[in-house]
Amino acid sequence: MTSLRRRLIVTVLATVVLAGIALGYAALAPSAAAPAPSGVAAGSPLGSGPRLQVLTNGLLSTVTRADPGGPREVTAVRCDRAHAAAGTVACLTPAQALTATSLVVMDSALRPRTTIPLTGFPNRLRVSASGRMVAWTLFIDGHSYATTGFSTQTGVLDTRTGRTVKSLEEFAVTLDGRPYRNADVNFWGVTFTADDNRFYATLSTGGRRYLVEGDFAAGTVRTLRDNVECPSLSPDGSRIAFKAAIGADPAQGWRLSVLEVAGGRITPLAETRSVDDQPAWLDDRTVAYALQTGDGTNNTWSVPADGSGTPVLLVPGANSPAVLA
């Protein structure tokens, strides 16, 4: 081996060169956060009639129901997930590498009413049909232990009373008719019923994913059936659109399906590609959902809710669809 002095010089030189490469690349690399567009609204003015709210590259946007692929009003409000109903617009702001996410509840003119700072990565977001209840799901990092690789946290805000439940894991669980408690319980994908108290959601425990029915006031949930994820209640309250893990194994993907609340009949929809989204009802006959292409582009599709027909590309380059009025 060469002398200590020469080895030290080589090490110091290598350190300087390597640090130069690392820091130079970091300083010159394109930044992740694209500059926010200036101006409140861009794009073409919309015609009259019912509208859809979507996210276009993470920016809150509106299209008309009559021509969803046509002119689009794009705002500067940046969200990872958005939803809206009856004059309440909810937005989970993007989690960047150095900033946490938050829930922003706005009125129909996009004026912020409530902001709740949150920890995690935005996943699902729903406003109840009346605009009163807001429910969100985040991925929580560092919350995982021995058996599971991820963990979620689902919270609910009652905008009328201000009551906030940060995690549904506080609720008492009844599994198959018996009280149940387990550290591995995760909730995601809430949908509220018309009374703004009862809700449906997904409960995951012991490697299984259940449809649960919850009571917000009582703080309870009970399991209804197996292998139902991201439920979404139809406007008439009679059916639940959801994603069903193929062969009850999420690794094989999900089939978009509809469950009849009374009777429990399940109809797989005509969409055969794997859908990892909480579907949204456009009306009592049609559901919309986002699909991501291989290069990361989101597209919003729609498909009849009775299993017939074929999927239709509804809003290109958009996700988080919600019916505005």
Binding site: L23, A26, A32, S144, Y145, G296
Partner: protein, 405 residues
């Protein structure tokens, strides 16, 4: 000779504090490599879920690969190092593989299989290098100073783990939140680690074996000195640990800690570990390794009891990371020091790999059992059960370790 090295020892020259250049060089390699590794660990979940918008199922799958790859390669690394008597070369290959994996992560783009492959290669490198590196430490230091040597090494290692996330945040800030520069910086740091290993770590060349033995008999021979005492003791002590995830999760629930503060529990534990590893290692050489190890496990029992105790709030948030870090500082390196003194030099890497794997497997069992206990009885009784199990297991392990071979 075996028993004397386990108990109280006196070093011949009396210079107890100093450790050899190889240990310091290996410590520097570990420090630099851990900065590199923890940079990735700190940003990977963010990258997969925010940067690439992976679904939880895909993220879970990749996370699973993380743990599976190491155990077999650890055994293979130990075996190979002994077989060709080139500990430095095998450890170096492991370090280099992990460094290249960082570059692979940069090149993998958005492809889930390629990202999984890069992560597996990174863990494989870690599995490959651990046993030969620990064997090198035991082969260069006199047996009576092994506690100190491992203490110094683990301190430097934990310092790297402590600095890594900070480095990652620094690079992220500089790069405006882009992830690519973090991977490249991590690669550069890892490469520096390989260079330090190549330039400053001297290999220990053992006298060539008289004849080449078949592989199976090498395993059997490595098992022989460990079988009756160290391996069962290591497995028993592994059974007493339920895992960081559970401890931190329980602490978070007990104290209602905001989730944003959650990572700080691990940082606090690392801090206690790195501050105490060296002094406890020296204490072990002076007053007996077994005594220090018993005290360490007593800290673990205290952690379990406190998790179901009357204390709450800030005192608990300070006390548990402190006790938990002390447990690590008083047991992890010390067990390797005990093993290093018992295993014959030509089988040392194989034997260390066996003991580490045995401990890891029994830890896996205990964490599953703890999860079941939590499910069946709730968190409080589960903690009491863990404390009881640790208290029962400890005397048996001590009896085993005190037994004459």
């Amino acid at each position: 000779m075996y028993l004397s090295t386990l108990g109280r020892t006196r070093s011949a020259d009396g210079s107890r504090g100093a450790v050899g250049g190889t240990v310091l060089a290996l410590g520097a390699v570990s420090l630099v490599t851990d900065v590199s590794a923890e940079m990735i660990t700190a940003v990977l979940p963010l990258y997969l879920v925010i940067g690439l918008q992976f679904s939880p199922a895909a993220y879970g799958l990749i996370d699973g690969l993380y743990t599976g790859a190491t155990v077999l390669l650890r055994l293979a690394g130990g075996h190979l190092a002994d077989r060709i008597s080139r500990h430095k070369a095998v450890a170096g290959a492991g370090y280099l593989l992990s460094a290249l994996a960082k570059l692979g992560l940069l090149a993998a783009g958005t492809s889930a299989p390629l990202i999984g492959l890069a992560i597996t290669a990174d863990r494989a490198g870690k599995g490959l290098r651990t046993a030969p590196r620990d064997a090198l430490i035991t082969l260069t230091e006199p047996p009576e100073r092994l506690g100190t040597a491992f203490g110094v090494h683990r301190t430097m290692d934990a310092t790297g783990a402590f600095l890594g996330p900070l480095a990652a945040v620094g690079v992220l800030a500089l790069a405006g939140g882009a992830f690519g520069p973090v991977f490249l910086a991590s690669f550069c740091v890892a490469l520096l680690g390989v260079l330090i290993l190549a330039l400053f770590v001297q290999d220990v060349r053992l006298p060539a074996p008289r004849e080449r033995k078949p592989a199976l008999s090498q395993w059997r021979e490595a098992l022989a000195p460990a079988r009756s005492r160290l391996l069962p003791a290591a497995c028993l002590l592994g059974l007493a640990t339920v895992g960081d995830g559970f401890v931190f999760l329980l602490l978070q629930r007990r104290t209602d800690l905001g989730l944003g503060w959650f990572p700080l529990l691990a940082v606090g534990t690392s801090l206690a570990y790195l501050l105490l590893a060296a002094p406890l290692g020296r204490l072990a050489d002076r007053f007996g390794r077994l005594r220090v190890m018993i005290s360490g496990h007593a800290c673990l029992v205290a952690v379990y009891l406190l998790l179901d105790g009357p204390l709450g709030g800030w005192p608990l948030l300070v006390l548990i990371p402190l006790l938990y870090g002390t447990f690590y500082a008083a047991t992890d390196g010390i067990l390797m020091a005990m093993a290093g003194a018992v295993l014959p030099p030509e089988l040392r890497a194989t034997g260390l790999a066996l003991i580490q794997s045995g401990q890891a497997l029994s830890y896996l069992v205990s964490s599953v059992l703890f999860g079941l206990a939590w499910q069946a009885w709730g968190p409080g009784p589960a903690c009491l059960a863990a404390a009881a199990a640790a208290a029962v297991v400890l005397p048996v392990a001590v009896l085993l370790l005190r037994r004459k071979p």
